[in-house]
Symmetry: C2
C-alpha cells in the first residue's frame, strides 16, 4: 500500500461529513490533491471564512455572522415580531425563508423531545422560548415541527405550556404536498389532509 | 432569503467536488457550520496538510509528499524497476497497490488519447514514458489501461512505439471479474474472456 498521512487524514475528515462514505471520500480526496487551485484553495478559503465569521444567532439559533448577531431576521424592522415560528432545527428556518411563506421571526429548539435517545425538554432551547414569548409581546406561536411521534410529542408539550401563558398557538398544516398524487400519498398523510380540510373558498393556492 | 456570504461560498466550493450536488453541499455546509470542532477544524487542518505537503511524483505521477519525491514506490530498493506498469491516471496506481498484485514501478499518463475531447498523444506523459523505457533498463512494460475505444487506442499507440524500442509489452487480462456471474457478464467482456483463455493449469487464482 502507498500510504500518505496527509491524504489519509483528509479522507477521514471527509468521511465524517453527512452523506459521504469512505469510497466517495477517497475519490474526493484524490481529486482535491490533483486540483489544488481549482478545488482545494476555494474550499480551504471557504472553510476558513466559515470558521472565522459564522456563528448561530443568540436569539433564534439560525446561522449568522459574528458581526450580525442577532441575525438579520431577528433584527429586521420589517418583520412582524408578534408572530414567532418554532422549528426543530435552524436548517428548517432556511427552508422556510426560501419558500417566502412567513414574515415573522423564528425560534429553533435545536432538537425535539425524544425519550428514546435521551433528549429531555431541558436539553432543548425551551426555556429561551418561553422567556421570549413572555417578554417580547408575542401574539401567536406557529409550531413548524415535523409530524412524527417525537415531533408531535414536542408540539404537544410546547402548546400545553404556551396555553398557560395565554398565547395563541397554531401548527402548520399537514396534507398533500404540491405536485403530488393522492394515489401515491401515504394513509397517515391522507387522514391528516381530510382532518385538516378547509372551506374551498378559504384555500389560498399562492 | 437568509443569505450569508461565507456560507454560500462554502456551498459553492463543496458543489465543485465530485459526486456532490447542490443539495448535498447545502446539507454538508450547514452541518459544518454547526459542528465546528468536530467537522470543520479537522477538515480545515487536513486540507491545509494536503496543500502544504502533497504533490505528484516527478517520476511516476502518483501523489506523494514534497519530502518524498520521487515517491516511496519509485525510490524503493525492493521493487523491480525492470517492469514498468503504465496506467491512465495516478489513482489507478493506488488501486493496484491496494490489490498487492504488482511489485514493479509505475508510470501514469495523466489521461488517454481522445480525439473526441481533443487529447493528443503530446498532451500525455508519453515522452517521459519513452525516455524512461529507453534509459532505465526496462525489460517489460505492462499496460494497465482501461478497455474501451479510447483506452484501446491509447494502448495500441504505446505498444507500437515500444515495439520500435524492442521492449516486451503486455496488457493486463480482461475477463470475468471475481465473484461475478457469467449470466450477468456483458457480451464484450465474455468475448474477451474467451479470447484471453489460458490452459487451466496455468491459471493462478491467488
Amino acid at each position: 500500500m502507498h500510504h500518505i498521512d496527509e491524504h489519509d487524514k483528509l479522507i477521514r475528515a471527509l468521511s465524517r461529513l453527512p452523506g459521504i462514505g469512505r469510497r466517495s471520500a477517497e475519490r474526493i480526496a484524490l481529486t482535491i490533491a490533483h486540483e489544488k487551485a481549482l478545488l482545494l484553495e476555494p474550499l480551504l478559503n471557504a472553510l476558513q471564512g466559515v470558521k472565522d465569521n459564522i456563528t448561530t444567532c443568540d436569539c433564534c439559533g439560525v446561522i449568522t455572522t459574528h458581526n450580525t448577531n442577532p441575525c438579520a431576521i431577528c433584527s429586521s424592522t420589517t418583520r412582524d415580531k408578534s408572530i414567532l415560528c418554532v422549528v426543530e432545527n435552524s436548517d428548517d428556518i432556511l427552508a422556510i425563508e426560501k419558500s417566502d411563506s412567513f414574515n415573522g421571526v423564528y425560534h429553533a429548539l435545536n432538537g425535539r423531545i425524544s425519550p428514546m435517545t435521551g433528549v429531555r425538554p431541558e436539553d432543548l432551547r425551551l426555556k429561551e422560548l418561553f422567556e421570549r414569548v413572555s417578554s417580547d409581546g408575542v401574539k401567536e406561536v406557529i409550531l413548524a415541527i415535523n409530524t412524527d411521534v417525537e415531533g408531535d410529542a414536542t408540539a404537544s408539550y410546547i402548546s400545553e405550556k404556551l396555553a398557560t401563558l395565554g398565547v395563541k398557538t397554531t401548527r402548520i398544516a399537514f396534507g398533500i404536498p404540491a405536485d403530488s398524487g393522492i394515489l401515491y400519498t401515504d394513509p397517515i398523510t391522507l387522514k391528516r389532509a381530510f382532518n385538516g380540510r378547509l372551506p374551498a373558498s378559504k384555500i389560498n393556492l399562492n
